[in-house]
Symmetry: C2
Subunit: 299 residues, 2 copies
């Protein structure tokens, strides 16, 4: 036999309004239907919960006992489901996004502002991680999804490419290379290179390519972060290999970007999330906005 939740709800309403008719109206059903619901509930539990004459209604002793619990059940149910519904409709909720610092600096702010306008009540937590740590944060559930450099496929995760970001050579205007229209990887031999080290995801890509070009694995200067690299380049210590998206030129004046070619090497920025797991509405909305924003930004 089925659980007469309708009956419980009806019971609470009758108890509160003291009348079948008013309760029925309140529930937008006929009085007939309401009577039947109460009857079903009573026959389910096997005892009379509401003593009713043609004139008045009153709870029986057991009805009085049951009322608080019944009220709680109905409230929990209605509010609980309602919360879920509004969540789904409005996309209410918190989002935690793991991202590369570099992306957080440049591309993300626009997307976040757009999201914040659309969902003023939602909070966003940004985890700024470098390299593989983004992936880890997503896989371990610390973040709803992440933005990272595409890498070896992970069975637990799905990726979706956002844009391909070419590497460029950044150097001071007074640096010899600044005069070039472009420069091939194999022509970097005579240049003091500033490269990223540490856990950076770029490091792997750049170093691989350097090896292919027959140069030493590491640049002459290995720094931990992009700002440091830019600072060094600015002082003309050497030329830095950086993603174009960093837009070093605009960060510090007096710098020049020279495209790196043969081959044009990209780092693939991708959205990453757990495979087979639905994003929360809030996360899903942000995911969509980022995808739309950054894809159109593609160079």
């Amino acid at each position: 036999m089925k659980i007469p939740i309708d009956g419980v709800q009806a019971f609470v309403h009758v108890a509160e309004l003291g009348s079948f008719n008013r309760a029925a109206e309140h529930l937008s059903i006929t009085q007939t239907a309401l009577t039947r619901r109460i009857q079903r509930l009573e026959s389910f539990v096997g005892l009379r919960l509401i003593d009713r004459t043609t004139r008045s209604t009153a709870l029986s002793p057991m009805g009085k006992d049951f009322l608080p619990l019944a009220r709680r059940i109905v409230d929990d149910l209605v509010h609980g489901l309602d919360r879920l519904r509004t969540t789904s409709r409005l996309g209410v909720g918190d989002v935690t996004l793991a991202t590369l610092q570099s992306v957080a600096f440049r591309q993300l702010p626009l997307a976040l502002r757009s999201y914040a306008r659309k969902y003023p009540h939602n909070r966003i937590q940004l985890l700024e991680r470098s390299g593989a740590l983004v992936t880890d944060a997503v896989r371990e559930g610390q973040a709803d999804f992440g933005i990272h450099i595409q890498q070896d496929a992970n069975p637990d995760l799905t990726e979706e490419m956002l844009m391909r970001d070419p590497f460029v050579l950044v150097c001071s205007r007074s640096h010899p290379a600044s005069k070039l229209k472009r420069v091939g990887w194999s022509n970097l031999g005579g240049i003091d290179l500033i490269t990223l080290g540490g856990a950076s995801g770029n490091r792997r890509i750049v170093e691989t390519q350097l090896v292919k070009a027959g140069l030493q694995t590491r640049g002459r200067f290995v720094v931990e972060s992009t700002p440091s690299a830019i600072a060094l380049a600015r002082e003309n210590v050497g030329a830095a290999i950086l993603p174009a998206a960093m837009n070093a030129t605009t960060v510090a004046s007096g710098l020049v970007e020279v495209p790196l070619v043969d081959p044009v090497l990209y780092r693939a920025i991708a959205l990453v999330r757990r495979r087979n797991e639905t994003l929360s509405p809030a996360a899903s909305a942000l995911y969509g906005i980022i995808k739309a924003r950054l894809c159109s930004d593609k160079r």
Copy 2:
């Protein structure tokens, strides 16, 4: 749209068992039906609660959020309704019974013992009241129901006659009246009467009849309780007018009961309870037992 309580229940089971099939089996429905319930729930709230592949099931973030509440709802509902059901089936519960002292002495013990055997876990509280106080206790809700002397109908109460208890003249074996087979009310003139006073319900009945018989309103000795009356009669101070049910003869030896006739006057012992209010199962059971026991006892 209707509240998908089945879906919530299904959701909890799937969450706990990690499998649609096992959950379906647990609920004794087909896997198909269970899938449908989950689908209905999800379409009701508008978001996916369980991420499922053909191989595995896992809660989505919102599902995880919802699980504790869902579990509580289902538990409350199932346990709450179950409690009511067992209550109705077993008649579990406490009963408070208001009764006349006289009835409590004599007829009730048998009924109570029988009830106690049938429902070993139920507690009974006895309110011993005299006269109209039984009625008051019932009307004011202090007692579930009562046993009293039938009187003017009260709109709030319903009565059900249990037995009619004739009044007898109780006297010592050495009392002149003890030789009579019966005695008419109008022949009580020369006898020193011991009557009940105070709040006794019998008082009204007896006094009314005495007036009708042309005797003084009160007996020569007016006592407050039956035991006192019996004690006086035993010492041959006079003859007492008492309900036959008191069985004075067996309480104190050396006493004789003489039927009072012209008319044979009864006090009507009745069950009384609040009109239009369902008795709790426990009370209802006791009510039934008393009715059966004492009615068969009718003289």
